[in-house]
Symmetry: C2
Subunit: 250 residues, 2 copies
DNA sequence: TTTTATTTGTCCGTATGTATC
DNA sequence: GGATACATACGGACAAATAAA
């Protein structure tokens, strides 16, 4: 036992070129995947198998797979296996950003599903964005969006409850934000401002977006205004960074 | 021993509200940090201490700290300790995006340091962006940018070697891309297109940006054109996502 | 300058839970 | 239900970097 540990420790120290075991394994697996050894959607060998193949402990393989998952290359599914993830898709951000137009224009089928909604007080943050008082009522719409059946983003949108009563019912009917706004007489609107940051998927995000928890998300906060400049809609979107690139044209 | 393991396993199963031990510890630590228990720059207790405090194994604490590091809240420094990281800064992206103006406008001191440069063939990607032939020579400039001594991004820029001979020398003199372009007669230019994605810091990024490897980066690819529309500069920037938010105004 | 203690990083091993097929 | 596979947690040992003595 003592000697076994000593040998293991020496292995760790003698990492080739000063690169640790788990990192070398991660790199080898990445190369195997990128060179087409495991096509998109393919299941990798089990952790135990990989461990035997490289002659290491299963935990070392787990560390390597965690790295690949962190790079967005694979996705572990408990009880089933570890699968190769597909590549990304461009998502333009400009004055006329409309989800359905973007996805449709890329030749894919857009989907929008209202997964939750509520009437609530605006609060300081939302009120500031929509130009309301913090006490005024807003309708919150939680929308899951996808393309060709693959979830792309979870978005939380807020609109004035007074300006757009029962916006949830209307959205559920049209399944489009543009049409919902049009129903309330907003013939056109434009994106005024967008904030972009990075966050990581929690358990809820992961379940909804069909991601592993901890995967990176592009957090896109935005304000849309009517042509006259009055704010009409504000949204916080969480995009699966593995599946989209944002594109800004000036 | 047997019973100890059994107890541990039961703990895992009986995770309060179905939340695992390491996640609860991560949440508690996050709350402690956000509520000011550990100010920015402060060192957290050692892993061993935290383990004793929560009555868990050190590995469980490590899993929790890895989570906090992944959220950008702390940074581990081997041999020293785990430290609380500072918050983010806004970085606008628009037609007139200029690093020095942005940072200066925020009341902070901009820095730009040329850390490497080379003359190389454009290749298909860069040639496509700059409107050159793949065989033409370009000058690559690797620039580390920061504000008030804190590194913000590492950028790799390419310009035509024919249009801007010895651009590296000129940049090193002015320490500003705008002034370098002006030196070659480019009186004004604008951002044409920007792609935004997420990547993770490798060892080199980490060292240059003073980050932990694996931290998220906002990858910002861009093309700048002269007023007439001819491309003059293309750049791939890697921004420490923990330190910046990108802002797009339409 | 050298030594020593501290702290994080890597790796092995074991046991058990839990989801999936 | 059983077999398989990933997830969590425990324990131990040593390496490597840092900081203090």
């Amino acid at each position: 036992m003592k000697t076994r540990h000593a040998v293991a420790a020496t292995d760790a120290a003698n990492a080739i070129d000063g690169v640790t075991l788990w990192r070398r394994i991660a790199d080898e697996l990445e190369h195997a995947i990128r060179s087409g050894g495991y096509p998109i959607g393919e299941r990798l060998p089990s952790e135990a198998e990989i461990a035997v193949r490289f002659g290491v402990n299963r935990h070392t393989v787990r560390r390597a797979l965690a790295e690949l998952a962190a790079r967005g290359l694979v996705r572990a599914q408990r009880g089933s296996g570890t699968y190769v993830e597909p590549a990304r898709l461009a998502y333009p951000i400009h004055a006329r950003t409309r989800f359905s137009e973007i996805v449709g224009g890329a030749g894919r089928a857009p989907e929008g599903r209202l997964i939750a909604h509520a009437v609530e007080p605006a609060g300081p943050r939302i009120a500031g964005r929509l130009g309301l008082t913090p006490e005024s009522s807003v309708i919150r719409l939680n929308i899951l969006r996808g393309a060709d059946g693959v979830p792309i983003s979870v978005a939380t949108s807020w609109v004035s409850a007074q300006r757009m009563p029962e916006a949830d019912r209307i959205y559920r009917r049209f399944r489009s934000m543009t049409k919902t706004l049009a129903h309330f007489g907003v013939r056109d609107y434009r994106r005024q401002k967008t904030w972009i940051g990075v966050a990581f998927a929690d358990a809820v995000d992961a379940q909804r977006l069909h991601l592993s928890p901890g995967r990176p998300l592009l957090v896109v906060d935005s304000i849309d205004v009517m042509l006259a400049g009055a704010p009409i809609l504000t949204t916080t979107g969480r995009f699966a960074a593995d599946r989209v690139d944002l594109v800004v044209e000036s």
